[in-house]
């Protein structure tokens, strides 16, 4: 590991992507993600990479598609409204079976909303987002270090399964500074001759990048293949973290990303008062750790989901818990984040 430095989440994920061999980045600026594009603008020329500020988010995501088709590690980033604009391209990338990384540093919504941190893009991120039958693996960091570590992880997953991968941060993770370390070595890119244009392995090995299949039977077969890959992703890539699970807690908290930081502070505060809470933090939001949440909820009196939204992940929690015990929700709209005291009193209300 190199020396510990202090970085914003936006800077750290950009640096990690470059260290992981990303040499192509296309994007359009938007708060609270702009430091990421600024970092890329500054650093890409120093490593002979390509930085391009596209004329729009739609253009940027299609440049990503093009670069991915050529077999290079490529990334784009934006914040909520910009990610909405990219959805058509993400659907095309998923259908074309190309590896690419998309970072969403979310902001308050709906609409133009505001620049405050919110988790209200959960549905969009975990349900494909664009049109058609597809999913995108979604990674949810909760520290700046994890945000950085997810860049190489996202490239690896993208190349292993030939899929776009989304890192879903939020404005708080993008803007706040924390100490971060970068490993000395990163996993190398997978041999792109498997998918890239112009990389015939045998004379008959033609790579045609396409997402248009006029014949319904061909589209059916292509889509079924995609879903076989999704089963593999579910089996191999589902990730989560647990906290205070062996405390004999009667209640389970489920939270991801920034909300999990708030939740963790509440678990610690209530522990001091003699109230035990178990916490599970999904790290992959798709595939969702349904089995782990179900297991953690076993024997609990209540499950409480905490989100910085009006309640989106709570639907996955309900699917996981499947009526075994009540699932309650604590959330906030508008990009307002709970204070430590507030979250403790809201949890206390739910368990009293």
């Amino acid at each position: 590991m190199g020396k510990k430095v202090l970085m914003k989440g936006n800077e750290a994920v950009a640096e990690a992507a470059i260290l992981a061999g990303c040499r192509h980045y296309f994007a359009y600026p938007i708060t609270p993600q702009s430091e990421l594009i600024e970092y890329m603008a500054k650093k890409m020329p120093l490593v002979d990479g390509t930085f391009l500020q596209a004329e729009s988010e739609v253009a940027a995501i299609n440049m990503v598609l093009g670069a991915a088709a050529c077999g290079v590690r490529v990334m784009t980033s934006s914040s909520s409204p910009g990610i909405s604009l990219k959805q058509e391209g993400i659907s095309y990338i998923a259908a074309s079976r190309l590896p690419a990384v998309i970072v969403n540093v979310t902001r308050g919504g709906p609409g133009l909303g505001n620049i405050a941190p919110m988790q209200c893009d959960y549905f969009q991120a975990t349900r494909g987002g664009g049109h058609g039958d597809y999913y995108t693996p979604v990674l949810s960091p909760s520290t700046v270090q994890e945000f950085a570590d997810m860049a190489p992880m996202a490239f690896e997953i993208a190349e292993k399964y030939l899929t776009p991968v989304m890192i879903l941060g939020d404005g708080m993770l993008g803007q706040m500074m924390e100490p971060v370390e970068f490993p000395d070595a990163y996993p190398p890119q997978k041999d792109p001759s498997e998918w890239a244009l112009g990389a015939r392995r045998t004379p008959d090995d033609r790579h045609i990048i396409n997402s248009l299949y006029i014949d319904p039977y061909v589209l059916q077969e292509k889509t079924e293949t995609l879903f076989k890959v999704y089963e593999e992703i579910k089996k191999n890539e589902t990730r989560f973290e647990t906290y205070n699970m062996d405390s004999g807690a009667k209640y389970l908290i489920v939270a991801h990303g920034t909300a999990a930081r708030v939740a963790k502070s509440a678990v610690d505060a209530l522990k001091e008062e003699g109230v035990e809470l178990a916490l599970i933090r999904p790290i992959t939001l798709w595939p969702y750790p349904y089995d782990a949440v179900a297991e953690a909820a076993k024997g609990k009196e209540k499950v409480i989901t905490i989100e910085l939204s009006m309640g989106q992940m709570v639907e996955d929690v309900k699917l996981a818990v499947c009526g075994e015990c009540p699932v309650e929700f604590i959330g906030k709209a508008g990009g307002v984040v709970f204070t430590p005291e507030e979250i403790v009193s809201l949890i206390r209300e739910k368990i009293s």
Partner: protein, 233 residues
């Protein structure tokens, strides 16, 4: 008006701890008996800005000049119309919290005529654990770019090397060395070294051969104990 009160300009690289220092300095000056005004000139950062302490400061009697109303939460490159008046005031100690990097310092150019017409000090806050200012060469480069963008001279250096909860004596000492050397090269004074009160236990204060300023943390993350209000950007 008698030119009795100071104009203190706080600059530095992005994330050097300028705002935390500026906010603490405002409290220090106010407690020292000087009527104090803190001016938020940050048009770069969307979160963690000195305007976040406005309510807290109004109860202490410290004036905060920053965009008001709905514009408090905007990410627009705009300034309060009261800034121009504030930089000319000599009946109050005025502290300018400038946005990071030359980009943030460019805002000062708008007021440099008024600033140069009076006495001022301009501090460069140095955190050697920020990659953009990790060594002497980079600190001097940052200083030169900030001076060019603002049209003003850096007169003092403040060491503020830290790594949040991983701050230790070595990290702080490394910051003192860089700030002291940079001060020599810039013909400025090395004045003080900052340590956040939460980190004092990890730092051997006797190893710091400089005036120690213990900072109180105002720019808290929402889950940190004592965060005062529901976080709004």
């Amino acid at each position: 008006m008698e030119n009795s009160q100071d104009l203190l300009i706080i600059t530095g690289s992005y994330g050097s701890g300028k705002t935390e220092y500026a906010v603490n300095l405002a409290v220090e000056k106010n407690q020292g008996g000087a009527p104090t005004t803190l001016v938020d000139l940050d048009v770069v950062n969307p979160y963690f800005r000195s305007r976040d302490v406005r309510d807290q400061f109004s109860s202490l009697g410290i004036e905060v000049v920053a965009p008001e109303g709905a514009f408090t939460h905007a990410d627009l490159p705009m300034l309060s119309p009261r800034v121009k008046g504030a930089v000319k005031r000599t009946d109050r100690t005025v502290i300018l919290d400038v946005g990071g990097d030359p980009m943030g310092a460019r805002v000062l150019g708008r007021f440099s005529q008024d600033i140069m017409a009076r006495a001022y000090s301009m501090a460069l806050i140095v955190n050697t654990r920020r990659p953009e200012t990790e060594d002497l060469e980079k600190v001097l480069n940052m200083a030169a770019m900030i001076q060019r963008a603002s049209g003003l001279q850096i007169t003092e250096l403040v060491a503020n090397s830290h790594l949040m909860e991983f701050t230790d004596t070595d990290v702080v000492v490394e910051g003192i060395a860089a700030a002291r050397e940079a001060a020599g090269a810039l013909n400025a004074k090395f004045t003080r070294v900052c340590v956040l009160e939460d980190h004092l236990d990890n730092v051997d204060a006797s190893a710091l051969d400089a005036e120690l300023v213990v900072l109180k943390k105002f720019m808290k993350k929402p889950w940190e104990p004592g965060c005062r209000k529901a976080y709004r950007c």
